[in-house]
Amino acid sequence: MLDRLQTLGHIGLEGLSALGRSGSLLAHALIARPQPMVMFPLLLKQIYFVGVLSLVIILVSGTFIGMVLGLQGYTILVSYGSEQAVGQMVALSLVRELGPVVTALLFAGRAGSALTAEIGLMKATEQLSSMEMIGVDPYRRIIAPRFWAGFICLPILAAIFSTVGVWGGALVSIDWLGIYEGSFWANMQHSVDFYDDVLNGLIKSVVFGFVVTWVAVYQGYDCVPTSEGISQATTRTVVYASLWVLGLDFILTALMFGDF
């Protein structure tokens, strides 16, 4: 009993200390005198690595998920005779939920793990130490541009995901299953609200962008600088970031759409 209590306390303390370290990492990286001339090229480079290179997986997944939604929606709705509503179903599920959430999960796997591994490897090969010794703050030079890049890219990727998803849904519903094009789009236009749906989805993806990138850079910076440590940190990034995304999604959904 006492042992379990001790373990619980230990886990609690570890968690608090990690939270403190990650908070201080973020504060150090973000709170500083802005140096646009130095930062902008670094940021652009990271946006390319984190955002542009994630485009393919986002485009392909978005299309397929939209197509599956169209197909599933049709088979269910057709039994109620309301298959014309498949457009609104596809659009709402993508914009409100699947767009931000699936993009964040894919992003954690594709870009988050890469960020962790890159920073961890820089630590293991003493690049971070040598940067410090040259008199350059690695928080500012390494962490900050990567963090901002993730923060900026995820909402854009989520928007792209939802867009191609809707297009994939239309492809299946209209061109394959033969739903009347006019009612597909009109239903969608009628039921999707800019503030309630699009903006709320955007807010979600902004929050996810913040959390996923934060987890990724922290795990990289805080990892044990060995090959084993880096592999564990990379795994932790994907697991923790995914759990955070799913947990936060519930809370945000409750706040945005819950009726209380």
Partner: protein, 269 residues
């Protein structure tokens, strides 16, 4: 060695521990200006840790580390970065930035710390690369260099701001005899030509004795002997003799502490 002005670095009563394990206890060390000082000792005595303490990357539990009048552990982050621009450090792995070419690696400190025009940066970088014999490799990426070449590029980067102090962390480890000879020669020549204070952390006895002006032997958290290479060679104490002659057994035991050998074998599973 009596006058305080003759020391670049003055370490007094330094204590440092990692968790429960004490690394240094009341360490005192004075590093003479403009000379090559070697810090030697068995693996795991915290030699690299000492360099990190001097560089302000770690904070000691107690004690002072004075560098040209600044007490490193008490400096603010901004002051520390300023002081570091007067230090160069050569890391064991070279620690070149893998996403930059050799040229950009060497130019990096100049771009960060100075407002020099592009053509002047180019000239300075080429001069430093010429000094380490790698002007021809300026366009290569770090992954295309051999270990010895990477270390020479890192050396060019460490001296590009003409620092007052250059610290070498295990510069000879894992080098083939030719690369080793080149490095030994370079460290000696650069130190003489540029007049900076050099601190070498190493356990390669022959190479280090060959170039060091002064040696500190560190073991068990404090300095056990210091002097010129000749003085240390003549030292009669058991600990110094074991290290200097590489004897397998002595005060530093061959066996990791363990229980009774026979009893353990007889015990079975």
């Amino acid at each position: 060695m009596e006058n305080i002005e003759d020391f670049t670095i003055n370490i007094s009563n330094l204590s440092f521990s990692r968790g429960e394990r004490s690394i240094f206890r009341d360490l005192n060390m004075q590093i003479p200006r403009g000379k090559i000082t070697a810090i030697m000792g068995p693996s795991g005595t915290g030699k690299t840790t000492l360099l990190k303490l001097i560089g302000g990357q770690l904070l000691p539990d107690a004690g002072r580390i004075e560098l040209e009048g600044d007490n490193i552990p008490t400096l603010s982050r901004a002051d520390l970065f300023e002081v570091r621009s007067r230090m160069g450090m050569l890391f064991q792995s070279g620690a070149l930035f893998t996403d930059m070419t050799v040229f950009e690696n060497v130019a990096f400190p100049l771009r960060v710390h100075t407002d020099l025009p592009q053509d002047m940066i180019r000239d300075v970088v080429l001069m430093k690369l010429q000094a380490v014999g790698l002007r021809g490799a300026q366009g290569l990426m770090p992954s295309e260099l051999s270990g010895g070449m990477a270390r020479r590029v890192a050396l060019a980067r460490a001296i590009v701001l003409d620092p007052h102090i250059v610290m070498y962390d295990e510069p000879f480890t894992g080098q083939d005899p030719i690369a080793m000879g080149v490095l030994v020669n370079l460290i000696r020549r650069l130190s003489e030509a540029l007049g900076h204070t050099s601190i070498i952390v190493s356990h390669d006895i022959q190479e280090t004795l060959g170039i060091a002006d002064y040696i500190f032997l560190v073991s068990g958290g404090s300095v056990i002997a210091s002097g010129t290479p000749a003085e240390l060679r003549a030292d009669e104490s058991e600990q110094v003799k074991q290290f200097m002659h590489g004897l397998p057994d002595g005060p530093v035991a061959f066996h990791f502490p363990a229980g009774d050998y026979q009893a353990e074998l007889m015990k079975g599973l």
